[in-house]
């Protein structure tokens, strides 16, 4: 007894306390690592967003010039607004030119006039046509209107006061612009064209709506095809297929497909859908088919994982009550697996929304001015539109590119938010 009392015995709790300090340190360190990586991720995101937003915010505003416009019957060649032939041939550009000449009466030489006419966009003439068609009373009258400026003028105007970008503008054009600025006759207005029009060679007329609708139709087809097919395949593989080497082989292949570079799906689509089935090229339908092939593996894999996560005790309970295998799936497995399936599908859809490589193969890269009205109209999609604009030489397309990226990101954020919302909403505990 006394011997033991003298010896400095370490009790278990002392030993534990010693290791405890080390454990706390390790825990702290680990938490720090985690916070650092999240911080790094957030930083990258902030840099990306600020870059895109600072570059792209200009695209939401567009320069307009104030001009006194006279709807002159002689210049237009229109004497009766209801006469369609006359309206079709009407020279609205002449009216714009006349207005510009009236605003700058000192311009006389032919060459200078040509430069002067470049201040206004083609869109100005479109606008006048719209106004006159809407209100035939305007014929012969004079109105003060804000008309769309050319993209070079727009770019120059936006950079006045900073590092001036002169681009393709001439000295005279810049002087005229300055005089408009001094007279408060040039102004930035909300760029409605960007949200309502299709693509255009003229940056000030180019809009995202055509590509957005193209993306919408494409995703609609992808969703309508890949969700039911993917879920059905997952249910069959998980619940009904016998477990043998064939199903193993299928499983391996599905996992492989998920990792195949997307451009390969584009080549496949070109060979199968366009060359063999003669699906119309450059349309949402063929894009949707190709993206269906691409998203199917993702949906199947995530759906299978969701089905696997349904506790077997629920299945047993249902079977014990006399439910048939199909009823077990419909009554219990599907409702419980649905949040996971939906999340996986939406993530697959978001991938499909951002995909451009396979679509380049099947003609979605074509220059399409018209906004598509149906799934078999020629169209382009958001990421391809971004690629096209990024590739255009006009300086004004730089901000359009960034703005289009913002629109795409907004869509992605909306979809991912929906995924989180649906999961929260449908998730049930058991």
């Amino acid at each position: 007894m006394t011997d033991q009392a003298k010896a400095p015995v370490e009790s278990t709790i002392d030993k534990v306390n010693k290791t405890l300090a080390r454990r706390y340190r390790a825990e702290k360190r680990f938490r720090l690592y985690g916070m650092l990586s999240i911080g790094f991720g957030l930083l990258a995101l902030v840099v990306l967003f600020t870059d895109i937003i600072s570059k792209g915010k200009g695209a939401f505003l567009q320069s307009y010039i104030q001009l006194e416009v006279t709807y002159d019957s002689d210049v237009l060649g229109v004497y009766d607004v209801n006469d369609e032939d006359q309206m079709a041939l009407a020279n609205f550009e002449g009216v714009v030119k006349q207005a510009l000449r009236n605003r700058f009466p000192e311009v006389s030489s032919r060459k200078d006039k040509k430069e002067l006419y470049q201040l206004a966009s083609l869109g100005a003439a479109f606008e006048l046509r719209k106004q006159l068609t809407a209100d035939p009373q305007l014929l012969g009258k004079t109105e003060t209107l804000w008309l769309l400026a050319d993209d070079d003028i727009d770019t120059y105007y936006k950079t006045i006061g900073g590092e001036e970008f002169i681009g393709a503008t001439s000295d005279k054009q810049r002087a005229w612009t300055k005089s408009l600025v001094d007279a408060d006759e040039i102004e930035l207005k909300f760029n409605i064209n960007f949200f309502t029009r299709g693509d255009s060679r003229e940056p000030e007329l180019a809009g995202i709506w055509g590509a957005a609708k193209g993306s919408f139709f494409t995703l609609l087809i992808t969703l309508v095809l890949s969700f039911p097919i993917g879920v059905a395949a997952a249910i069959y593989l998980e619940e009904f297929a016998p477990k043998n080497k064939w199903t193993d082989l299928i499983e391996v292949n599905i996992n492989n497909l998920a990792a195949v570079p997307s451009i390969i799906f584009g080549l496949l689509g070109l060979a199968v859908f366009i060359n063999f089935f003669h699906t119309p090229r450059s349309t949402p339908i063929v894009a949707g088919l190709v993206l269906t092939l691409m998203t199917l593996p993702t949906i199947i894999i995530s759906s299978r994982a969701a089905i696997k996560a349904v506790p077997p005790s629920i299945r047993q309970a249902a079977m014990g009550m006399g439910a048939s295998p199909m009823q077990v799936v419909l009554h219990h497995v599907l409702p419980l697996a649905m949040p996971g399936m939906l999340t996986g599908s939406i993530i697959g859809m978001a991938q499909a929304l951002g995909e451009s490589a396979p679509l380049l193969m099947i003609g979605l890269v074509a220059f399409v001015v018209d906004v598509p009205g149906a799934i078999n109209d020629p169209a382009t999609v958001l990421p391809v539109q971004i690629y096209l604009w990024a590739d255009s030489p006009e300086r004004a397309f730089v901000e359009k590119t960034s703005a289009a990226i913002m629109v795409l990101l907004a869509f992605l954020i909306a979809m991912n938010t929906l995924a989180v919302f649906l999961r929260k909403r449908l998730e049930r505990r058991w």
Binding site: I314, Q316, A317, A318, M319, M321, H332, R429
Partner: protein, 291 residues
């Protein structure tokens, strides 16, 4: 060297008073079931039944009758095949990958495993309560109403309400849940959940109820309530219960079947099994020498 020597010595020592376990096991592989496995006027009868998991045999030639409005308890060491045998009775083994059942199993004289027997209808007649409470992640009401809806037992809403209330009452759960029928069944306590599962099973008025260790996840009070419940249910149903608790078997059952390594060793009236077992393996098990 030394350890083997002592083991051998020990074995010799035992063998003087009684035979070794391995000898007994060799014995039962050829032996018949002792006691009274068969009876007149049985609700279910099982003849010469083997069960295989792949190549591995789990049940060896079992003959057993299950009497009407009786509780039969199945006891035996872990892994001896009690659950496997129970699952044969309502064909739940069909759902187990690689499981094969052979032999003749009948319910009221009709073959359970014949092609003509519909599994859905069979399971409506033979309900099952599992070891772990497994209510559906639905409301209490929907849990109990699931079976009647599935089999179309109620034509009107009121009728369904009645079935649900009756089942919950008989499972002695009604008073506890009558104010929250539409809250989730998974929100109940473990014992309440198990009673809910019993209510769910009896809602389709089965003729036989199979229970696989229904009280293993429950505290003594909840266990006592379920035992009371089994005693009441016996008046209307035939019950087969697997249990690890010998006291429980003694309390709730009229007959007891003892399984050992896939063989049915002994079947007798419960009182007889627990007071004067015929087979030495049964005796060894109930006196706690192995298991």
């Amino acid at each position: 060297m030394t350890s083997i020597a002592t083991e051998q010595a020990g074995e010799m020592l035992i063998s003087k008073t009684e035979r070794t376990e391995s000898q007994v096991v060799r014995d039962i592989e050829h032996g018949e079931t002792v006691g009274e496995p068969l009876m007149e006027d049985a609700k279910m009868s099982v003849r010469n039944t083997d069960v295989f998991y792949g190549d591995k045999q789990a049940i060896f030639g079992v003959d057993l009758d299950i009497g009407k409005n009786q509780v039969i308890a199945m006891i035996g060491p872990s892994g001896c095949g009690k659950s496997t045998f129970l699952r044969c009775l309502n064909r739940m083994n069909d759902t187990v990958e690689g499981c094969r059942v052979s032999g003749e199993l009948t319910l009221d004289g009709s073959d359970i495993y014949s092609k003509k027997m519909d599994v859905v209808a069979l399971r409506a007649r033979i309900g099952m309560v599992f070891q772990k409470p497994n209510p559906f992640p639905k409301s209490i009401y929907d849990n109990v109403a699931y079976g009647p809806r599935l089999h179309g037992l109620a034509s009107r809403r009121g009728e369904l309400d009645e079935i649900v209330e009756n089942s919950l009452r008989r499972a002695s759960l009604w008073d506890e849940v009558k104010d929250r029928l539409h809250s989730p069944g998974t929100g109940l306590s473990g014992g309440q959940q198990q009673r809910l599962c019993i209510a769910r099973a009896i809602a389709v008025s089965p003729e036989v109820i199979l229970m696989d260790e229904p009280c293993s996840a429950l505290d003594p009070i909840a266990t006592a309530r379920i035992e009371e419940l089994i005693a009441e249910l016996r008046e209307n149903y035939t019950i087969a219960i697997v249990t690890h608790s010998m006291q429980q078997a003694a309390r709730v059952s009229q007959r007891t079947a003892y399984f050992h390594l896939g063989h049915l060793v002994e079947v007798n009236d419960t009182e007889k099994v627990f007071t004067s077992p015929e087979h030495e393996l049964t005796e060894a098990y109930i006196t706690g020498r192995f298991g």
